[in-house]
Symmetry: C2
Subunit: 441 residues, 2 copies
């Protein structure tokens, strides 16, 4: 097993495609690549937006559709274990983020889950901090302006529901803001651990401690963390977390999300989207709500079984790395890939004023590299996509490349950078058709 | 095309299986049965809980998984039209419930969608009815105690958010309650149109008018209506509606739900689960929320494409009846089936004190028949399931049989009742293993 230092050194020293191929031959995680369908002619650098299709997903979905639904019909809620899927898949994700069995459940979307935990946390805070007549400023929820928009919209809405305001601070200002005794009281810190634009990683443990010192809950969105970098929610002493199933967990387009609440809080909270499957006895059909114990009361409506099945297949592609070093090994490989990409871009695209938006320290980077360009980044990404190198563009000027460590090889990184250099050197991207906007990417 | 009166007369006169087979031969909707996978040896009377698998779903899902996701990857959000699926499937459901194109969208669960519309409606009501110092009673949301539990839990939670109380009135008391000038003001009437336990149909238009006369919004859950009975939201002058994809729309286990807002309200409302796909320009990644025009701002997170695809296949099985009379013809056939079931139960199970819980007037019944028994109804249903007749049990004492008019035949009704009579006459159901509770059915 190569150390992280060795991986980085190798990545920095590469000067030929053959050397990349040699790194791939020595890659102890290389065998896990066969878990994925790889479209011919494509180098896929967008697994941070939609993970690749695991080979076994199609077969498993077909079994669920044809056998469990088609033949088993309603009986499959018991006989095929559908009723337990939110917990069963949740327990598998729990292993990737340092949660314990029974603490994490799969349901709804990241947006909806964030609403639940934020409302739950703010209600707890209000109970512990009743308003006093001398209060001059409304208490706040703190986030950063670069958080993923849906998190900001939901935070704004959930905060307003209970009389809080949303306050945005740049990343560097978060710590002093939380420590400021003269500013409005902070009830919750809501952050996405890995920045979707830059890939910069927040220190989960340190910022959670800063939030706690301010009397605030630490609420984390693990959208670009789960399946990408090592996360230990308990070690970090986080309070609540949500995350996404369709990025590094390879759960398929629009896969359901997950939600976790620290066991010290979960049974003290009530979440506002109280649905029947969160009831302590759903099949009693009682008119009065009585929440289930533990994280199960964060369930609401009936879980989407087809999407949950695909998510389970995706999560298992990541769990397959457990005997090979797990998330630490996966992130180490991703650091090797991103470091190689950065070095090669610097060497082969140096005439084109690309700026590295991601942290230069590999340990500070999630599984992505973002570049900024004074040229039309959107058109450059479109020209690359047409040539089989799929990254994405994030307004206003970010070329974003994801490096999912399971399916990607070092030669893919080499080939992608050579293509980027050709597109830039040739000016191909200036063809007006590349500037035409689509809805996505 | 037989008239409803003829269908009912025939159903009432049947006294042999051969006569049922003759009705099936003459059934103009009979050819639509081939749209469904029919497990051998099963008579499925639970399509009101989980619709049967359409034949084409497995193929279509496989295309989406293997082709659109596996090969197209992130590009399929544009190239395969994934981004438009919530609207595209919504427009198809709209045709079944009297909504216009662009007014109805598929997303989230019924529970989550009910929370959105109820919060949106109550905020509108508050804006139009500001609190006055002389107000003595909190304004209320009215529902009935027999509404589906999730609707009550969500209504309670959404109402409490904005200072409303939930008031429950038996069905017969709804109209006088709404007309009572001395009771607390009513902001919204929230009902499931077809009662999940009894199958009784509320008069959508009349109760909406009563709500309006009281200054309240009429909010309808169409879970057991969409794809089951004719619904015309505009003719009924309803204000908001939600509904379920996995019952009579045959969308598969946990299929996403739908939401509709009357065009007179939709752009005046703000729903609390403001997610990025409800933003007017999601790919601008703006920090401030600006809702999309129309029902699209009821979208939140990324839509579950696999489940949406299955739902589209399911909805199309119902739309296939449009040239044959559409929802009116489907409900007419269901009335024929339920009438036959009731008559045959009365004739063949008359020794067992079964009580008809569903309305005796076929026009007042959705596509189900509920029986009450002084015996252990749960065990009776389990014994039937073991013999291939799948209905379900709803606490505390309801044997519920759904009659999805697309896949079911008159001979199925005959065979089901004969099996019920055998189970009751023989006392088979008294075997202790049938009393052991499962999670579902």
């Amino acid at each position: 097993m190569p150390s992280l230092a060795e991986l980085l050194t190798h990545a920095r020293e590469v000067s030929s495609r053959d050397q990349c191929a040699a790194l791939d031959r020595d890659d102890p995680l290389g065998a896990l690549r066969a878990q994925f369908v790889a479209p011919p002619g494509v180098i896929y650098l967008d697994g941070n937006s939609l993970g690749q299709l695991p080979v076994k997903t199609a077969t498993r979905i077909a079994q669920v559709v044809t056998g469990e639904w088609g033949q088993g019909l309603i009986r499959s809620w018991n006989d095929a274990g559908w009723m337990d899927l939110p917990t069963q898949v949740g327990n598998q994700i729990a292993r990737l983020v340092g949660a314990r069995p029974g603490e994490l459940i799969v349901c709804d979307s990241t947006s909806v889950n964030l609403f639940k935990v934020l409302r739950a946390a703010l209600a707890l805070w209000l109970a512990a901090n009743p308003a006093k007549p001398q209060d001059t400023a409304a208490p706040v929820v703190v986030s950063q302006p670069g958080n993923f928009p849906t998190d900001l919209y939901i935070a704004q809405s959930a905060a307003a529901d209970l009389g809080f305001e949303l306050e945005l601070c740049d990343a560097a200002q978060l710590e002093p803001r939380l420590a400021d005794p003269n500013a409005a009281p902070v009830a919750a810190l809501v952050l996405t651990q890995v920045d979707y634009r830059t890939g910069a990683i927040h220190d989960l443990g340190h910022l959670s401690a800063c939030a706690h010192a301010a009397g605030a809950f630490a609420i984390w969105d693990l959208a670009h963390s789960a399946g990408a970098i090592p996360v230990d929610l308990h070690q970090a002493d986080a309070d609540f977390a949500v995350g996404c199933g369709y990025k590094f967990l390879n759960g398929g387009p629009g896969a359901p999300a997950f939600v976790w609440a620290h066991p010290r809080w979960v049974d003290k909270t009530r979440q506002p989207l109280a649905g029947w499957l969160g009831h302590t006895a759903p099949f009693d059909f009682a008119a009065a709500y009585s929440p289930a114990q533990g994280i199960r009361h964060y369930l609401g409506g009936t879980p989407p079984i087809l999407s949950l099945t695909a998510l389970e297949c995706g999560v298992q592609t990541v769990l397959a790395a457990e005997p090979l070093g797990g998330m630490a090994a996966l992130h180490a490989k991703a650091q090797g890939l991103t470091e190689l990409f950065i070095r090669l871009v610097a060497r082969h695209c140096d005439r084109h004023e690309l700026e590295l938006l991601s942290p230069t320290d590999p340990a500070q980077r999630g599984c992505q590299v973002s570049l900024r360009s004074p040229l039309d980044g959107y058109a450059i990404v479109q020209a690359l996509i047409e040539r089989g190198v799929i990254g994405d563009f994030r307004a206003s000027d970010v070329l974003r490349f994801g490096f999912s460590p399971l399916p990607l090889r070092y030669v893919d990184v080499w080939d992608a950078v050579m293509e980027l250099a050709r597109v830039l050197d040739s000016g191909t991207w200036r063809d007006p058709r590349y500037a035409q906007r689509h809805a996505v990417t």
